[in-house]
């Protein structure tokens, strides 16, 4: 257990450093944007006859951090806010704290991403095992090739294809809002059904685009494990097929769990294309909107959140590994 605790402590320390670094990067990026909106507004207020103090205050209301003062002062106050989970106030939605906007959007991202990823993981892993076992056969080949191709197709192209097919050519699935407004929100069949119906295409896209990766990873992992001596040894000891299969599966899937955790972290930010194409109001769309509408506090907030998700996923992945792999648990490194 101490190994876990020690690792956790190390990860947390590193994670915090990482967040600070990213926050710093995004702070300076925002501060270097051409036509700095903060300064522009400040200047405008000044031109409009406002005293510097008042202008400063008025801008502060809008942007959540002070536009004047030395870069250092601004930076420190921004970082100070960060520690209080205060990411400033959205520009395009005045009055709305960035954190609230982000949590609103995040809930629309998390669920489809989670479902899509888990679905593709499940299917990909099963087919991956199959493709590995039948790797010399036609079907195994077909599975592997389908995997490579799906893995190779960019997400946005997949999404577009799905829209064209299921929303335009045969319009059977919605690809606009996340839920039909006519249903009363809550735990009623209509609302949930509508939510589900609207999530089908995005989830399908996540699932399809990730599926290729899983099947390939699982296939190669299984092939590696199949080559391991202990599998042959188990067979030679006359172990039941089901048990041998479990040995293979468990050992092969182990490295994939790490990737799973990591990809869940990455998908928060990777949802950009899908959300754009399906108009799904999650973090990705929020980020694009923030970028195209130049809502800097929102932009850097979203970026921070997405990075934080990756960091958390990293930690989870590692701890997970520590828990399930006895070699790591006992402090030995496995490469």
């Amino acid at each position: 257990m101490t190994v876990i605790a020690r690792r956790l402590a190390g990860h947390l320390a590193r994670g915090i450093v990482m967040i600070l670094v990213v926050a710093t990067i995004s702070f300076f990026i925002v501060n270097n944007i051409p036509g700095d909106p903060v300064a522009a507004r400040y200047e405008k207020l000044i031109e409009g006859g406002m005293s510097p103090e008042a202008a400063r205050q008025a801008t502060a209301v809008m942007y959540g951090f002070l536009p004047t003062g030395s870069m250092w002062e601004q930076y420190l106050s921004y970082m100070g806010g960060l520690f209080r989970l205060d990411l400033g106030i959205s520009v395009t939605r005045p009055g709305a704290p960035v954190l609230d906007v982000l949590t609103d959007a995040a809930k629309w991202t998390v669920l489809p991403v989670l479902i899509g990823t888990l679905l593709s993981f499940l299917v990909g892993v099963i087919f991956g095992v199959y493709a590995a076992i039948k790797r010399t056969g036609k079907l195994g080949d077909a599975l592997a090739i389908s995997g490579s191709l799906l893995h190779g197709i960019p997400q946005y192209i997949l999404a577009m294809l799905l829209v064209v097919i299921f929303a335009t050519l045969i319009p059977i699935l919605p690809a606009d809002s996340p839920v039909d407004i006519l249903f009363d929100p809550g735990w009623n069949a209509g609302y949930i059904g509508s939510l589900a119906e609207h999530a089908v295409l995005p989830v399908l896209t996540y699932a399809l685009s990730a599926y290729g990766g899983w099947i390939l990873a699982m296939k190669s992992s299984v092939v590696t494990v199949l080559g391991d001596d202990f599998i042959l040894a188990a067979e030679l000891r006359g172990m039941k097929r089901s048990i041998v299969f479990r040995y293979i599966a468990r050992n092969a899937i182990l490295p994939l769990f790490t990737i799973l955790a990591l990809s869940l972290g990455l998908l928060l930010g990777g949802a950009v294309f899908i959300e754009k194409i399906f108009n799904y109001p999650g973090l990705g769309l929020l980020l694009i909107d923030a970028v195209s509408l130049r809502d800097y506090p929102l932009m850097s907030g979203a970026f921070l959140l997405i990075t934080a998700a990756v960091i958390v996923a990293n930690i989870v992945a590692d701890l997970f590994y520590t828990v399930i792999d006895p070699r790591v648990r006992s402090g030995e490194e496995v490469s």
């Binding site: 202990f230 040894a233 188990a234 030679l236 000891r237 039941k240």
Partner: protein, 359 residues
């Protein structure tokens, strides 16, 4: 994690009655390998790794197979369990095991049940023959379940006793993962798993490769003792003649997929007939005596692709090469208690027929 030296072990453990009906009553089986040919599919077509090999393992004996790398030892050992891995397959021949039948014909469940319960196999790379994610104990239980052992407790007890017999702390080992065990310990766990279901035919593929001298000596001793105590038929495969000389009653020499000579160990060592056997023995570095007596064999061992398709497989490196060797594959013929496959030996036997039956 220390290994206890033997002596404190209750030998009675092996005599204890087990609840599994009939397990104890089994006898050491005899094995007859007949005309075994195993081929591997390669880019150059199917090539034999073991060709027309016949070998008898007498009940209760230890047979050793020696041969250089790639001579087909492991392939042959696997054939005993009908477990040659694709792209290989048994192309011809029988493997008759007493009380089981021709294993080469076995399929599916029948084959699976034979493995483990009737034939124990100790892996060439015993170091890696355990599932890294599970404790030895859990794997033992999996093994028990696979073979329908009802009283798993008894099985664990049996395993502990076996491990204790080999000088290990059974409870501790069963609780360990593979990475927590040293090479020698892993090898002993491998032997335990091969024997715990009371198999009486045991195949050990290079049981001591990668172990150092002292551990090797220790394992060999265990093999010998366990063999005797449990009444086994044992096949030991190795490239090290010394190992065979230590443990085996009978010795078979493999070269290029063929068995070139077999017979009682002492006899073969003392008076090798096949030029390859002779060369092999002569190539052993000796602790004492004139170092110039020992000589390397010229040439190099063949690989699957370079094994001659016809004629004697050894002729390229043979000092006694004759014309007939290029075209005719020498048949394995009895030579006293031995069987030798060599044209030169044939001739030698034919000419001075009266003598040389016993060396």
């Amino acid at each position: 994690m220390t290994e206890r030296s033997e002596g404190t072990v209750k030998h009675s453990a092996f005599g204890a009655e087990s609840d599994e009906g009939g397990l104890r009553t089994k006898q050491a089986p005899g094995v007859r390998i007949d005309g075994l040919t195993v081929v591997y599919k390669t880019t150059a077509g199917e090539l034999p790794a073991v060709r027309d090999v016949s070998l008898e393992l007498k009940p209760g004996t230890i047979t050793g197979i020696v041969g250089e790398s790639g001579s087909g030892k492991s392939t042959m050992a696997l054939s005993l369990l009908n477990a040659v891995q694709p792209p290989g397959r048994i192309a011809a021949g029988r493997v008759d095991i007493d009380g089981l039948g021709d294993v080469a014909e076995f399929k599916g469940e029948q084959l699976r049940k034979a493995r483990g319960r009737h034939i124990g196999y100790v892996f060439q790379a015993a170091q890696n023959s355990l599932n890294p994610l599970k404790t030895v104990g859990k794997q033992l239980l999996d093994l028990g379940r696979s073979h329908g052992v009802e009283d798993l407790r008894a099985l664990v007890r049996e395993a502990k006793e076996l491990l204790g017999r080999m000088g290990l702390d059974g409870a501790r080992v069963l609780d360990s993962h593979q990475h927590e065990l040293s090479g020698g310990m892993r090898q002993r766990v491998g032997i335990m798993l091969a024997l715990v279901l009371n198999a009486h035919l045991v195949v050990l593929d290079e049981p001591t490769t990668a172990l150092d001298m002292i551990t090797q000596a220790n394992i060999l001793k265990i093999v010998r003792e366990v063999h005797a105590e449990r009444g086994l038929t044992t096949l030991v495969i190795t490239h090290d003649i010394g190992v065979v000389a230590e443990v085996a009653d009978r010795l078979a020499v493999m070269y290029g997929g063929r068995l070139v000579e077999q017979g009682p160990t002492r006899e073969v060592l003392a008076d090798p007939q096949h030029p390859y056997t002779r060369g092999l023995i002569r190539a052993i570095p000796r602790l004492v005596g004139d170092i110039n007596e020992a000589q390397a064999l010229p040439g190099r061992p063949p690989t699957l692709a370079t094994v001659p398709k016809e004629g004697c497989v050894f002729r390229e490196r043979c000092a006694l090469r004759m014309d007939v060797c290029d075209t005719v594959d020498p048949a394995a013929r009895p030579y006293g208690l031995r069987i030798v496959a060599c044209h030169a030996v044939d001739q030698a036997v034919k000419v001075p027929s009266g003598e040389g039956e016993h060396a």
